[in-house]
Symmetry: C2
Subunit: 277 residues, 2 copies
Amino acid sequence: MLQVSTVPELRAALQRMPRPVGLVPTMGAVHEGHLSLVRQARADCATVVATIFVNPTQFGEAADLVRYPRPIEKDLALLEGEGVDLVFTPSVDEMYKPGFTTVVHLDGPALGFEGEARPGHFDGVATVVAKLLLQSLPDSAYFGRKDAQQVAVVRRLVIDLDIPVTIAVMPTVREHDGLAISSRNAALSEEQRLAAPAFFLALSAMRDRYRSGMQDAAKLEEGCRALLAREPLFEAVDYVAVVDEQTFAPWTGGGPCLLVAAVRMGDVRLIDNAVLD
Amino acid sequence: MLQVSTVPELRAALQRMPRPVGLVPTMGAVHEGHLSLVRQARADCATVVATIFVNPTQFGEAADLVRYPRPIEKDLALLEGEGVDLVFTPSVDEMYKPGFTTVVHLDGPALGFEGEARPGHFDGVATVVAKLLLQSLPDSAYFGRKDAQQVAVVRRLVIDLDIPVTIAVMPTVREHDGLAISSRNAALSEEQRLAAPAFFLALSAMRDRYRSGMQDAAKLEEGCRALLAREPLFEAVDYVAVVDEQTFAPWTGGGPCLLVAAVRMGDVRLIDNAVLD
């Protein structure tokens, strides 16, 4: 596995590697979710590129950025173990040159939910994803469905800016008890960790109700909230909503939809979703 | 000359054409300024692509957009006459699909001057230029120095978003009396047209003073304003400023600089600049 840290090195390395190229962007702290993306890229593409960049512009609070885990040696070993060909580990200065001032901004799918809870977050995400895609110009780029709103934002920006790439979305990878794998899980106490699967169970129960015919957004949301309320360690429920998968607008009965939710356990904010189909 | 109107057609056509590819983006109403860009692209590149798209998102007032000239047959003939290989003439619906919601926004060089006089203008410019560059992924793209602030915005966005293209900037093309060629010139009355070269003469006089050693921004601006004030048909002077060529920040003595200005003659707003070197 070749490691490079500048855009010219990245482009030069890619020139020598066969197409198609698959890109797996990460912020490091690599877990099974990322590795499932790498495995799919490896199955689809002649060349697999992973990026590790903890993007400061998508963090609301400086403390979160400082606290973000950066186990770089372990990350590199995990990526190499899955057959990544090239890993791009730029510095903040490499990504944001002196005078940097461009923001890729979306309304539409970036409004509400995570966009509301984390002001500026999707500006940071859209801008850095546009940069990562344009630096390597992959044939495909891989994202996890756990961050469903991020997926909707990335899909939209790729259409809107005519970025020539296929966005592949892989299912959420879960622990054995159903908790969606996330770097945030490590911050849960033992007690919180034991309670956390109730989040997945609530979403799954409503997916089952949907499949049994209760296809009414308000009732599904209400039912989900009632289930989440039964777990006292869920100290707050930021949102529960049935949304259109592409626009994140309230679902009105047509097209693919998602049940999305965010809950708080102490300082930790968990997000998850269920595909209603 | 091949003409296409959709992005898939454009990409398919480019697949069959040799590299390097040069792109000349226009809003039509093709004049000698555009043709100078085409000639340079023709000299530099194996394939020359021109685009004709009157971009609604960079117009402040709907009336200006409706009034904008669209002599498409004449434009096509002029471009073909200069050896353009491929012309891309997308519709508004082709450029902005249902649900379009992405804006490429810059502060920095987009602040002040035209950015202030035309709110939202550079958002529209940056977004459409990003799209045009990503649709065709040219090796080089050609812009005229008359729109110096637009050039600074495009250069910045290309750096910031890592768009793999070289931006080539060509000198302002002028009428025999010095007036910078612009589609707006056609809107001048005969009397205004006769007076208009005083704009170029004022800028040139200050460039000469700069070269003779008067390298003080405030004095150059004051001198330019005094010269412009002598032409009664210049009913207003929107701005006169010595700016850093790249950042459009006030020039403080180091690096390449420009004297930029905008004047109003009736309904017509003229912009021009002089390179101070």
